[in-house]
């Protein structure tokens, strides 16, 4: 009974949001990338490099915000790599993603050793400080959200809103959606398909980097080998489950986070692995249920133009 009331508590809500942020950011990155027609299996690796970048940036400048910028930069760089491989050199997109994951796993460990002399674990760095927003904190009921809150929550909500708005209300978004479905049609009306794809994949990398940094300098205060722990693939699943839609991706991330939060906070005796499995089982059921008509971009992975 007390569990039930806890379920609807503020604390629970915050826990869910906190768990959802990294997955959600990466999922939206995946949405944007796949909407341009490019498969990205390397989200896991991009997040990992972002996590590392966040710590490295903070370490070098003693400023966590610099860490965040570094993470975004690193993520964008890897995004550029994936983009060049897939667009210019027509690599098999799945294989490229796998390669990026392996590369990222190895590179982050090599670099932590180079900088901090310990294989896979960095030194401690400052975390991104929580903030309290003066006026908004006085609003009844929801004012608590603005007290001692990680800026990431607001950044994430902004990303969701902006991504959704751009995709469905602006020219850029319309053209992006057209490219993912029928690049030839977009080409014939004069849209520069290549440029859109490059930008989309780089933005994906940047968002993944941003999400990765959350894991290292907000939820934690250092980089630990393999700290993304499969969240990148969960983000992939969230994108599919959410229907290749920024809002949907974020809501799907919340659903996945909900399962994890339930297990952590309510000490219900379900084995950890089943909770971790949930996102994938749900996504698989959704895929099977919708059958061949999964709502993904029709020309996803097709570079024949």
């Amino acid at each position: 009974m007390e569990n039930l009331s806890y379920l609807f508590s503020f604390d629970m809500l915050m826990t869910i949001l906190r768990l959802a942020i990294p997955i959600g950011l990466a999922a939206i990155g995946g949405t944007i990338c796949e909407r341009s027609g490019i498969i990205n299996l390397g989200i896991e690796g991009m997040m990992l490099l972002g996590a590392f970048g966040g710590v490295l940036g903070t370490h070098l400048t003693d400023n966590p915000w610099m860490g965040v910028l570094m993470a975004i930069f690193v993520g964008g760089l890897i995004g550029l790599l994936h983009a060049v491989l897939c667009i210019k050199f027509k690599t098999n997109q799945s294989v490229s993603g796998v390669g990026i994951n392996i590369l990222a796993t190895g590179l982050t460990v090599v670099l932590t050793r180079a900088v901090w002399k310990t294989d896979g674990i960095s030194g401690q760095v400052d975390q991104l400080p929580s903030i309290t927003i003066p006026v908004l904190q006085d609003i009844p009921f929801i004012g608590r959200i603005f007290v001692n809150q990680s800026p990431y929550l607001f950044i994430t909500i902004a990303v969701v809103a902006i991504a959704w708005f751009v995709m469905y209300k602006t020219k850029v978004g319309l053209r992006l959606r057209a490219i993912g479905d029928h690049p030839k049609a977009a080409e014939t009306v004069g849209i520069n398909v290549k440029k859109y794809r490059y930008v989309a994949v780089i933005i994906c990398g940047m968002l993944c980097g941003l999400g990765g940094a959350y894991l290292s300098i907000v939820q934690n205060n250092r980089f630990i080998n393999n700290m993304v722990a499969g969240r990148g693939f969960m983000a992939l699943a969230a994108n599919i489950f959410g229907g290749w839609n920024p809002l949907g991706s974020f809501l799907a991330s919340i659903v996945f986070a909900f399962a994890q939060a339930v297990r952590i906070k309510l000490s219900i005796n379900i084995p950890d692995q089943f909770v971790q499995m949930l996102p994938y089982v749900i996504t698989l059921l959704v895929l099977v249920g919708i059958g061949g008509k999964s709502k993904g971009p029709e020309a996803l992975g097709d570079m024949s133009d």
């Binding site: 796998v98 390669g99 590369l103 971790q276 061949g292 999964s294 996803l300």
Partner: protein
């Protein structure tokens, strides 16, 4: 030399593929060396130590061979599916369920004699992997789902499921770590070289290579798979049942990948240990692509990756760089080899720089 022109053509093709693969490796080593220099390590020292660690002694060589065994299986599995035009990215999940199934079967058959327990365990593992692969095949053939996405979901579900079992119901009593009971010794592969990890599983791997080679060369089933991969319409017009081929090919691929798990459990560890695979399923993709899906080539590329893994420790010891540098090299190889055009492009640029024609 006077040669039959068609033979010359095939040889030329093979040669250019070989050159392409070698170029990918060389480029990766060069880029990796560059990274090492940037971070402050000596690449020459590192590579020498790497080589020494991989091939420098009998122990080192047997280590290298032993580490290449699971990669031969996952590489074969990927290549097998590729012949049919399919992408089996589910090797990781398939090897985990294969490992678990064979462990469970071996433990369950406890006191049975070796000639029953070992084949049964192997078969159980292959069956489990085959089911997983077949599931992805059904999703592709009947539901027209993208096999990559489905396989990734199944990978995680399968790995987590096995992790659950080994942390719970199958956990060895009184054990601190997440591992199963020891498998009865009658179910273990024997060591070829004592005090190393190299077992007779190597023979199984080599046998698999030969069997698969002849499967595609001589059997109708192999022919049908190749035809489906080459021209689906012509295949169907000739009477091939597309659905059956897709499902069975993915199933067989899963069964082969499962052997990677089976041989690790019954050969190297003697029990199922949670998370024992450092990503064999994914590295196997690189092994196959680098070998251009040729079974015999896979032996070579698997050994290359095995050598990287086995020499890593010595390299980190001697040159001070993290052992994970080999993962960087592996990642680079995958990126380079997946793109023949990169290699050609760089060859052109490199050739120009060196003043070659």
């Amino acid at each position: 030399m006077q040669m039959n022109p068609k033979r010359r053509a095939t040889l030329n093709a093979m040669l250019s593929n070989l050159l392409l693969s070698m170029a990918a490796i060389v480029l990766s080593l060069i880029v990796a060396a560059f990274i090492m220099l940037t971070v402050g390590y000596n690449p020459i020292k590192a590579y020498l130590a790497l080589y020494d660690g991989a091939f420098g002694s009998v122990n080192a060589v047997s280590n290298t061979l032993s580490k290449s065994i699971p990669l031969i299986f996952t590489g074969l599995a990927f290549a097998f599916a590729s012949k049919g035009g399919m992408f089996n990215i589910g090797g990781e999940g398939q090897l985990y369920v294969g490992a678990l199934a064979s462990t469970a079967a071996a433990i369950a058959l406890g006191n049975a004699p070796r000639f029953i327990i070992l084949p049964a365990a192997i078969f159980a593992g292959m069956f489990a992997g085959g089911l997983l692969g077949g599931f992805v095949g059904v999703a592709k053939a009947k539901l027209h789902l993208n096999e990559v996405i489905v396989a990734i979901m199944v990978n995680y579900i399968a790995s987590l499921l096995t992790s659950y079992f080994v942390n719970g119901p199958m956990k060895a009593a009184k054990s601190m770590t997440a591992q199963s009971d020891l498998v009865p010794s009658s179910a273990l592969f024997q060591k070829i070289i004592p005090k190393t990890q190299l077992t007779t599983a190597l023979y199984i791997a080599l046998a698999a290579v030969v069997i698969i080679y002849f499967f595609f060369k001589k059997t109708r089933a192999g022919y049908n798979i190749r035809v489906v991969g080459e021209n689906l319409f012509a295949a169907q017009a000739s009477g091939v049942n597309k659905t059956m081929v897709i499902i069975l090919t993915m199933g067989a691929s899963g069964a082969i990948a499962a052997l990677a798990g089976v041989t690790e459990v019954l050969g190297k560890y003697g029990r199922f240990i949670d998370g024992f695979s450092p990503g064999f399923g994914f590295t196997g993709i690189a092994v196959a692509v680098l070998a251009n899906n040729n079974p015999f080539g896979i032996i070579v590329t698997a050994m290359l990756f095995g050598a990287l893994d086995s020499g890593a420790l010595k390299m980190s010891y001697v040159a001070g760089i993290s052992a994970n540098m080999v993962m960087v090299i592996q990642g680079l190889v995958i990126l380079f080899v997946a793109t023949p055009q990169i290699v050609q492009w760089m060859n052109k640029k490199g050739g120009k720089k060196l003043g070659k024609s």
